[in-house]
Each structure stands twice: as structure tokens, then as C-alpha cells.
């Protein structure tokens, strides 16, 4: 599609920018913002410049720049916005967790979170190094399914499984607790992408038309029923509304992207509604959530939602300023409710900025999906981006009463290692796909080190 120029030289003069310099500058900018936020918090709370500023900020800088170097080395054309956004969100999360530590009489969640940031960024770098081409993942479609289901069901095991706040989501080995559902999210996205790429024709073309919609055959309904059953199982056994909603929403969205059939959405939503109404009728904890959603100040109910709202209201438009509010008065101030903590201290303005960061992250992910050159990459990128969007929507929507509150982590911000790990790996996979999508034709020569046997249509390129 090159424009017909007088000489071929016009074509060669179009150099594709790798974006690595932009990425470096934006990442440094993100680190400066995080550093200023950290100093701001310490000045407000302890009235001194943090003595460990350089050590802490240095660690974060080393991690971000390390990943940047890995990208220069292994994914030169990767999207330049993903790393700065993830760094900024992760860094601000660290600052807020530290701020809440200061408010709640000397705990050290922030130190642990910084440690986990190291682990997560290392995992992201490892992902980029090990997964040289995202298409290899397609080979592991059913392995991913097995791993995903296993991870999901791990908390149900007797010894390692662990229940907290009425939800059975954790495993605990030694002193370390982990939420395997976060990683299951990635495994299942890989599985959905692989599975749907192979079966999309059967799902989209075969079937009966009814009321102007293409309805699938009964046997093709199988997978969606399985996914539905799985999310209901999570809901029932683990009492986790959030994850259940997340998995099912993710599956329906990917099904829709794969088949381009609105009927799937209708079927999906119908099934979801049915499941939701059932859950509401059967489970007391679901009913409590709905009651609190409709009236957060209802007497005799938990005041969790109410406290979050009061925090947000206290912040108002411009917020109290970092370190000058009372975010620790809210339950789970550094995990589920960290968004309310930001809302209190940074105000509506700050919260808008953070939502914009998420929107931008998701937008870059979806753009990667559009740019990806084959179905698997498209589905995987779309699926991964959409989980981030959906997760933000479900948790922030729960805090702001757009929908009933369900406990979920806020990507990159919430305290918690599993969530951080999962989200950095998601970013790594998006970077990997975007590198493939943005790489200019001239450089798209097959990498001899990447051998993709058994993946149809890949080796032939």
C-alpha cells in the first residue's frame, strides 16, 4: 500500500520510530512524579524529607529502567506508553500504601509491596525474555486451561487454602499468602484466545437465525456454559463476587470479539443475569452487598461503603493533599479501597487523572489488539486489556456505587503481591504483542531462534 512515488527512495526514507526514547523520557517523568509524591507525603505526615528517599526511589528507578533495557534488547518496537503508565501507577500505589502505613501506627506493608514490585517487574522481564513470540503461547492452549482451573481451585484445597473476610481466595504456604485467581486470569485469557481462534468459525457461522440474530448450535454453547458454570462455582465455593464477574465478563467479551456475533453477548448477559438473581436470592452476603449498594448508610449494615464515600466526599474536588487526609479510617484502605484513599487525598482531579491513566493503558492494549497481525494475538491483547478495564470498573464502580461492591484489587495500586505480579505479566504480554504488531515489515524477518512448530500458519511465514 505504499504511495506511488517517483522514486523508491521515498519509501525507504519512512523510518519507523521504535519509541524507546519516548518511553525512557516518560518513564523518568513517572519516576519524578512518584518521587515528589513520596516527599510530599513524608513532609505532610512527618515533616521531614524521607531519609530513605534515594534508596526507595532508586529501587523503583532501577526496576523500571531495567525493564526498559530489556525492552530495548528484546522488544524494540513495543508500545512506548505501557511501561511509563505501569510505573507511574505502581509507584503511586507504593506511595499511598506507605502513607497508610504511617497513618495506622507503623506497619510495613509498603516495604513488602516494594519487594513484590521487584518480583513482579522481574517476572515481566522474564516473560519478555522467555516468550520471544507470543504465538508460542497458542501451543499451550489446553495446558493454560488446566493451569487456570487448577489455580482457581487451589484455595479450595484443605491445607494451603485460606479464607479471609469471608472469601476463600487465598493460599498460604509458610508465611506467604497468595491469591492464585489473579494469575488464573492470565492463564484463562490465554486459553480463551487459543480456543476461540480455533473454533471461531464454527461459533460464528453455524447456527440458526432467530429474531434477526444468529444463534449458535447447542453443542457450540458448551464452552460458554462451562465458563458460566465455573464463575457460578467461584461465586458459590469461594464467595467471591468480583472474580466471578470478572471471569465471565472476560469470556463473553472475548467470545464476542472472536465471533463478531451480538447474540453471544445477549446469551452471556442473560446467563449472567440469571446467575446474579439466583445468587441474590440464595446468598445472604450477596443480599447484604445489594442492600449496601442501594443504601450505603442503611442502619445495622456494614459501614464499609459509607466510610469510603465519606472519604471521597472529604476529598472533594482538589483533595486534602497527600498525607493530609484520613484514608486509614476506611476499611482495606490500602487494598480494595485504595481508590477511595486517592480520592480523599488527591480529590476528584487526581482520581480523574488516575482513571485516565487506566483508560490510556487499556486503549494502548486495544490498539495493540487492532494492530496485531493474527487472530490469536488480537484476542489475547483484547482479552488482557479488557480484564484490566473490567477489573478497574468493577472495583472502582463498587466504591463509587455504580454497581454493588465486590472485593477486587485495583490493578497496580492495591497492596498485594499476586495482583501486582499478574498485572506486570499482563503488561509484559501486551508489550510483547505490541512489539510484534508495530515492527516494520523490513525487520519482520523470521527470527531463527524462534521456532514455532505445530502452530498452523506461523512457520510458513
Amino acid at each position: 500500500m505504499s504511495p506511488a512515488g517517483p522514486t523508491p527512495s521515498t519509501v525507504t526514507s519512512l523510518r519507523v520510530r521504535s519509541g524507546r526514547t519516548v518511553e525512557l523520557l516518560l518513564t523518568l517523568f513517572a519516576l519524578v512524579v512518584v518521587g515528589l509524591a513520596y516527599v510530599n507525603v513524608e513532609l505532610a505526615v512527618r515533616e521531614e524529607v524521607p531519609p530513605d528517599l534515594w534508596w526507595h526511589l532508586g529501587t523503583l528507578t532501577a526496576l523500571a529502567l531495567g525493564l526498559h533495557v530489556v525492552l530495548r534488547w528484546r522488544a524494540r518496537y513495543a508500545d512506548p506508553l505501557l511501561l511509563p503508565i505501569a510505573t507511574l501507577l505502581n509507584g503511586l500505589g507504593l506511595v499511598m500504601i506507605h502513607r497508610i502505613d504511617l497513618g495506622s501506627s507503623s506497619s510495613s506493608v509498603a516495604t513488602r509491596q516494594l519487594l513484590w514490585t521487584g518480583v513482579a517487574v522481574a517476572a515481566a522481564a522474564a516473560t519478555l525474555v522467555v516468550v520471544r513470540d507470543h504465538r508460542v503461547l497458542r501451543r499451550w492452549t489446553f495446558l493454560a486451561m488446566a493451569v487456570g482451573f487448577l489455580l482457581l481451585l487451589l484455595p479450595m484445597l484443605p491445607v494451603v487454602g485460606h479464607e479471609e473476610f469471608g472469601a476463600r481466595l487465598w493460599i498460604r504456604i509458610g508465611g506467604l499468602s497468595f491469591q492464585p485467581g489473579e494469575l488464573a486470569k492470565i492463564a484463562l485469557t490465554v486459553f480463551f484466545a487459543g480456543y476461540l481462534v480455533s473454533t471461531r468459525d464454527a461459533l460464528s457461522l453455524v447456527g440458526r437465525r432467530l429474531l434477526g440474530m444468529q444463534f449458535p448450535r447447542a453443542r457450540d454453547l458448551g464452552p460458554i456454559l462451562v465458563a458460566w458454570g465455573l464463575s457460578v462455582l467461584i461465586l458459590v465455593l469461594q464467595r467471591d463476587l468480583g472474580s466471578s464477574l470478572l471471569f465471565f465478563g472476560l469470556f463473553v467479551a472475548m467470545l464476542y470479539v472472536a465471533t463478531e456475533r451480538t447474540s453471544w453477548i445477549v446469551i452471556g448477559l442473560t446467563l449472567f443475569m440469571a446467575g446474579a438473581v439466583m445468587a441474590w436470592r440464595i446468598f445472604a452476603h450477596v443480599q447484604a452487598r445489594v442492600t449496601l449498594w442501594l443504601d450505603p448508610f442503611a442502619a445495622g449494615q456494614s459501614d464499609q461503603v459509607a466510610k469510603g464515600l465519606m472519604g471521597l466526599g472529604h476529598g472533594g474536588i482538589f483533595g486534602t493533599g497527600l498525607g493530609q487526609g484520613y484514608p486509614y479510617l476506611t476499611y482495606f484502605a490500602n487494598s480494595d479501597y485504595i481508590f477511595a484513599s486517592f480520592g480523599e487525598e488527591l480529590g476528584m482531579v487526581g482520581v480523574f487523572a488516575m482513571l485516565m491513566l487506566y483508560a490510556l493503558l487499556v486503549e494502548r492494549g486495544l490498539r495493540t489488539a487492532i494492530g496485531a497481525r493474527e487472530g490469536f494475538g488480537k484476542l489475547l491483547a483484547a482479552g488482557l486489556s479488557f480484564t484490566v478495564a473490567l477489573q478497574v470498573f468493577v472495583i472502582v464502580g463498587g466504591i463509587t456505587r455504580v454497581l454493588p461492591l465486590t472485593g477486587l484489587t485495583t490493578p497496580f495500586l492495591s497492596a498485594g503481591g499476586s495482583s501486582l505480579l499478574a498485572n506486570w505479566v499482563i503488561v509484559a504480554l501486551l508489550l510483547r504483542i505490541s512489539d510484534h504488531a508495530r515492527r516494520p515489515v523490513a525487520e519482520r524477518a523470521p527470527d531463527p531462534s524462534v521456532n514455532l512448530p505445530g502452530v498452523p500458519g506461523v512457520t510458513s511465514r
Binding site: V257, E260, G313, T400
Partner: protein
């Protein structure tokens, strides 16, 4: 697959738009409503997070804010807590500003008062934490201490004012309480302490000196009746009154006796001066009838009865009844029936007499200073009313001196100082139980301090002691402390 991905992007856009709208609603539209919700701890903490002004007596803080490490940032401390509890009141996270100056001058102490507007603007610009103004009181710590110690564990109240200015020199109510127990940050302990205080039958939270259930003034009211008599022009100090051993109340067969059933005068014709000196009941019952209810009521009002007074705490107005038959009128002459007073009001009667008849408005706050010690407000003495003429005041003073020299109030004598006083034994209920009163001032020729003391009857049928025996020593201690050497 690009079309559905684009549609998915629109769905994401819609989701984020919903979040932006919801956030706007909560943080912009509903924010004020959320802040004002009852039990919003953040709003509460905010009012506690700025330094509250101190309350100072003679340069020493009796209430001050101390920095803490917890949420509330400042804790209120009361040194000499029980001595000043009814002056300071309390400042509690759970129960707010209660009683005393903490409540009455809350806005100034908290720094939200309009008079501090200029300072708040400066704070806003310089980024300083806003803080409240401090109050310097008129209290004389020696008089306050003397009153508190002399009252001891007995229920009652003691007030002292400077008759020349109206400055309150002492304000004590017993039983007392510890405001520290309410200002503590241990909220469960605060809750317990508050329950205990409110349920205590002795009602320690009530400021009996200015805001308790009003007391019958007993014989101290005879000063008002005597003043009315002198002011009427029909009587002088040596005018003879009708003072039999027993006085039959007009229109009834009820007989009013003198204290102890004694005669006021061998002939039953004591002079006005003599009647005051020995506190002759029958003469004053008769005199009230002669003067009429209106004359007595008007004189009472000249002394401050029925007036709304803020010192700045609200003082319950003392009252003289409206509708009286002759028997009731006679009873008011000895401070019984429905005459009701606060100890401060009784002190004001003495103060007016001491100050040549000019009644000064009582006040407790000398100056208000902002954080930089700049004086924001200074109370100037104001004349409240011209209660009696100077000659009436002089005549009354002479009579009150005789009370202490050789009448019912000899226990108030101070060597080398001439003390003017009046005792009272105020019956209440029907069992003969009585409160002990004493009011007076010193030195009689150059008054510096006027006092009123009431010691409540411990039981309903306790009649053993009179004002002269129980209350006069307390007054004496205060007067002694208040008279400049």
C-alpha cells in the same frame, strides 16, 4: 475482528465515563452532604486537628491543648482540673464542647469565630495550621483556691466578684468533676466517665453557681427588702419595724417564727438596722407587706433579678414571683416562697451595695488573644444598673458590718479588716431542711471583693447549722484571699 475490538473500546469508554460521572457526583455534588453527615469521623477529626486556644488564669493555663501522635492530633489537658472544672467545662471528642467556657466561647477557642477572620486569612496565605485564640480570665487563683478548699466535699457553690468592675474572681461549684476524663482519647473510658457523671445523683456536671436549679435565697434576700425600704424614702436605718416573736401571716392562721423562736427586740419594735443585724424574720415579713410586691420586685430587678446575663456562660435569671397574696408576699420578705436565685445573683446584690449602689455587669473573660498574643478583645467594665442610691448603699453597708461584728455572721470576721456580710438559712421543702448562705464584701470601707456562698443541706431534714455557721467561714476564707494586703 477489528470491528468488535473497536466496539469493545466503546464499551470501555462507557465504563470509564460511568466511573467519572459517579466520582463527580460523590466528590462534587454530594460532597457537602457527606461531610455534614452525623458521625462522619473525618469532619469531627478536622475540628480537633487544629490547636485549640488555652484558657489562662493569671498567666497559667488551666486548659490547654497538647500535641499527640494519634488521629486527633491534639488532646485537651486540664491542670488543676477539679478546681476549675465548672469554669473551663470540657472538650470531648465524643461529646463535643460542654459546659463552661469551652462551650460558651467554643468558636473563639476553636478559631472559627468571626473575630478571628483576619488571622484565618493570614493562615491560609502562609500555609499555617489555623489555631484558636486563648482566653485570659478574671479569676483570682488565690480566691478560687480558697473557695474550693473551704467548700471541700460539701455540695454547694461559691462566687466572688470585684464589686468595682464586675470581674468574677472565683466560680466554684461542688461536687466537681475531672474534665480530663472526658477529653481523653480513650473513647471507651470517656464514654464510661460521661455515663457515670450524668447518672450521678449529686449532678457534678451542674454549675450550681450560675446554672443549677435555683435556690431560695433565705435571709440574704432581706438585703433586697431593706434596700427597697430605704429607697422608698419611708424608712431609715433607725426606723422601727413591727417585729414580734411570732408573726401571723396576713389572711391565714400560719405563724412565722424567728430563728430559734427568739424575740428580735424586747418591745417587738426592732429598728431596720437591728433587724438586718440579727436577721429578724417577723420584721421583714411585716416590712415586705408594707412595701408591697411591686416595690420589692422592682428593687430585685435593679439588682439583676430576671436579667439575661452571659459571663459568657448563660446565667439562669433569678426570679421574684409575679402573683402574690399577702401571706406569700410576707414570706418573700424573708426570701422564702417562690423567690429563686443563683449564688452569682446574691453576690451581685452584695457587690452593688459595696460599689455605692452601682451594679457592674459580671464577666469572666478579661482578654482574648490570638496565637501571636495580639489582643483581639478586651472586656471593659460596664454598669448594669444603678441599684440603689449611694446613701442607701452606705446605710446597708453599715448594717452588714454590724452583722459580722456582732450579729449572725461573726464567723466571717477577719482580723484587721472590716467585713460586711449577711447570713441566710434557706428552708426548702416542708421538712424544715435548709441551705446555708452567706454573702458579703470586704474591706467594708474600700470594697475589693464581694462573695456569695451556699452550702447545700446534705439531707432533707438537716437543720442543724445556719448560714452563719457553715457558709460564713467559706466566705471568710475567700474574702481573706481576695483582700489586698
Amino acid at each position: 475482528m477489528n470491528t468488535p475490538i473497536r466496539r469493545l473500546a466503546f464499551l470501555v469508554l462507557a465504563m470509564f465515563t460511568a466511573l467519572l460521572l459517579a466520582t463527580t457526583w460523590i466528590q462534587f455534588v454530594a460532597a457537602d452532604g457527606l461531610r455534614d453527615r452525623p458521625g462522619n469521623r473525618r469532619t469531627l477529626i478536622d475540628t480537633y486537628s487544629r490547636e485549640r486556644g488555652a484558657i489562662l488564669v493569671d498567666g497559667t493555663a488551666v486548659a490547654r491543648s497538647e500535641r499527640t501522635d494519634d488521629d486527633l492530633r491534639w488532646v485537651r489537658r486540664y491542670d488543676q482540673a477539679t478546681r476549675y472544672s465548672h469554669v473551663t467545662g470540657y472538650w470531648s471528642f465524643t461529646y463535643g464542647a460542654g459546659l463552661g467556657l469551652e462551650k460558651a466561647r467554643n468558636a473563639v477557642l476553636a478559631g472559627t469565630d468571626d473575630s478571628l477572620f483576619y488571622q484565618r486569612v493570614v493562615d491560609l496565605v502562609t500555609g499555617q495550621q489555623p489555631s484558636g485564640a486563648s482566653l485570659e480570665l478574671t479569676i483570682d487563683p488565690d480566691v478560687q483556691a480558697a473557695a474550693a478548699e473551704a467548700l471541700g466535699d460539701r455540695r454547694g457553690a461559691a462566687v466572688a466578684v470585684d464589686p468595682r468592675t464586675g470581674a468574677i474572681l472565683a466560680l466554684v461549684s461542688r461536687p466537681s468533676f475531672d474534665p480530663n476524663a472526658l477529653s481523653s482519647h480513650n473513647l471507651t473510658a470517656v464514654d464510661e466517665a460521661y455515663q457515670q457523671l450524668t447518672q450521678d445523683p449529686a449532678q457534678p456536671l451542674v454549675n450550681r453557681a450560675i446554672a443549677g436549679d435555683l435556690y431560695p435565697p433565705g435571709s440574704t434576700f432581706k438585703l433586697v427588702v431593706a434596700a427597697a425600704a430605704l429607697e422608698s424614702g419611708d424608712y431609715r436605718a433607725d426606723s422601727e419595724l413591727d417585729g414580734p416573736v411570732r408573726y401571723t401571716l396576713p389572711g391565714t392562721s400560719t405563724e412565722l417564727p424567728n430563728f430559734g423562736g427568739e424575740a428580735c427586740d424586747p418591745q417587738g419594735r426592732p429598728t431596720l438596722a437591728r433587724s438586718v443585724q440579727i436577721s429578724c424574720n417577723t420584721a421583714f415579713a411585716w416590712l415586705a407587706g408594707q412595701l408591697g410586691a411591686d416595690a420589692v420586685r422592682e428593687q430585685a430587678q435593679e439588682f439583676g433579678f430576671g436579667q439575661q446575663i452571659e459571663v459568657p456562660m448563660q446565667v439562669t435569671p433569678s426570679s421574684y414571683p409575679d402573683q402574690l397574696d399577702d401571706a406569700q408576699l410576707a414570706l418573700t420578705g424573708v426570701g422564702q416562697y417562690d423567690v429563686r436565685v443563683t449564688p452569682l445573683q446574691v453576690a451581685m446584690v452584695s457587690a452593688a451595695i459595696a460599689n455605692d449602689g452601682a451594679l457592674m455587669t459580671p464577666y469572666l473573660v478579661e482578654t482574648v488573644r490570638d496565637r501571636d498574643l495580639e489582643v483581639i478583645h478586651e472586656t471593659r467594665p460596664r454598669t448594669m444598673s444603678r441599684s440603689v442610691s449611694a446613701s442607701t448603699a452606705a446605710a446597708l453597708t453599715e448594717m452588714m458590718v454590724s452583722v459580722v461584728q456582732g450579729g449572725s455572721g461573726t464567723l466571717a470576721q477577719i482580723p484587721g479588716v472590716s467585713v460586711a456580710g449577711k447570713t441566710g438559712t434557706a428552708e426548702f421543702g416542708s421538712s424544715g431542711a435548709a441551705h446555708a448562705w452567706f454573702t458579703g464584701f470586704a474591706p467594708a470601707d474600700d470594697p475589693q471583693i464581694a462573695v456569695a456562698v451556699i452550702v447545700e443541706s446534705a439531707t432533707d431534714n438537716w437543720t442543724g447549722e445556719t448560714g452563719g455557721q457553715v457558709a460564713a467561714p467559706v466566705a471568710r476564707a475567700m474574702l481573706e484571699a481576695g483582700v489586698a494586703p
